[in-house]
Symmetry: C2
Subunit: 216 residues, 2 copies
DNA sequence: ATTTATTCTGACTGATAGTCATTTATTAAA
DNA sequence: TTTAATAAATGACTATCAGTCAGAATAAAT
């Protein structure tokens, strides 16, 4: 009786097909300007069907964001595992973040949308994908926190750092950079002659100043 | 013939009254959930009249944001003028930013909305208040940049800093902190036991690490 | 008192997120 | 094979809301 299983599989495939369609539409003209009817047309389904698979437009968007977060999660995990020292783990995480931005700028940009979302514990049933994004986001944050703790213990990071607070600041700092690059990147490039990569590079450089242990 | 002048004055008063009403409505339930009809009712005007004074909802919101930016502008100016050394100017700017957040959390939060806006040079006619916000935002940024330059020259900041890039990073960093406090502040307070002020304080502390000159 | 200019109104339009009674397709039972 | 039961999909419909505009109301000028 593999029918139930097959149905389950088909359901998942259809759900993914809808996310694919939404990605195409949302990324091409921006979520704000994209309509559910357009997603439905791209997916070759009726609008009503979309709502059988997703609670609402925002949750569908978070299904896309979740894909990005999962990619980033893999990269972070890899980064943390392959390096020994705390400072190197953090450098590798920074590198992963940077590469992610370079390789998937649209996912990176979509992530900003999630970062702006207020965490609402009640919303789990109403917005399952939002909830899932929160979970995955917490895991990413956890990787950073662990790396900081490791670094403090192995002496590669300043011993007086507060692991939790410094992780919060690192996270906020990174997202701030991402956001300014997204919203003002073109302006800076055209008017000030500085490239987006320069901003990212430089901010990582400065981060190292407050992280690195300088004995003596 | 002071009629034209009186008319001019009344027009401005009415415009301000509308901004007052919009502030009440937008701040009480959030811009997203607030309608122009509600603003009209609060202002005791018809909806059509709102559109004689403002191009659209977003521009009206930016009229509110502009009030916040102007407050911040005064504080920044005061901060820069009263201090001599570059590092002290920056500290005072940080302090001003912090006080602004404490005293006007709603304006601070509204500012985030503007920071997320892509700069569109074409939009000036269509969204005059957005354009004005951009101008004022640039001035704020200019204060920071000047303070950094001063600090490099007077030796209170690291001599190898790139004034433009470090200003961009400072700006992005600050906004990132603001955003994380807005979106995750409650979460951090309840689940991790860290207050919003702690995050702000700590991030300023860390900023000083990459700014301050440590000779020897 | 009449004309002109200015300000305001609110019913209307268009766009779009989300719903739901109905139809179509699939599987199980007779 | 026919019929009943279950699941998936549809698209016309509703509700909401930003933004418009022809005309009413008010004020100023002649």
């Amino acid at each position: 009786m593999g029918i139930t299983e097959r149905r389950e599989r088909e359901k998942e495939q259809r759900q993914n097909a809808i996310i694919d369609a939404a990605e195409t539409v949302f990324f091409s003209k921006g979520v704000e300007n994209a309509t559910m009817d357009e997603v439905a047309e791209q997916a070759e389904l009726s609008k009503g069907t979309l709502y059988l698979y997703f609670q609402n437009k925002d949750d569908l968007y978070h299904a896309i964001i979740l894909r990005g977060l999962n990619l980033l999660h893999s990269s972070f995990e890899e980064a943390v595992v392959k390096e020994e020292k705390g400072i190197d783990k953090l450098n590798a995480i920074g590198r992963a973040y940077y590469d992610f931005y370079k390789q998937y700028p649209e996912y990176a940009n979509a992530m900003l949308h999630h970062e702006g979302h207020k965490i609402d514990i009640e919303c789990n049933e109403k917005n399952p994908f939002v909830a899932h994004c929160n979970e995955t986001g917490n895991k990413l944050f956890g990787f950073m926190q662990e790396a900081v703790k490791t670094g403090i213990q192995d002496g590669s990071l300043r011993p007086d750092l507060n692991p939790l607070l410094v992780s919060v600041v690192l996270w906020a700092h990174s997202n701030g950079i991402m956001q300014i690059i997204e919203s003002k990147g073109e302006f800076f490039e055209k008017m000030m002659g500085i490239k987006r990569e320069d901003i990212m590079d430089y901010s990582f450089q400065l981060m190292r100043c407050y992280l690195k242990n300088n004995p003596g």
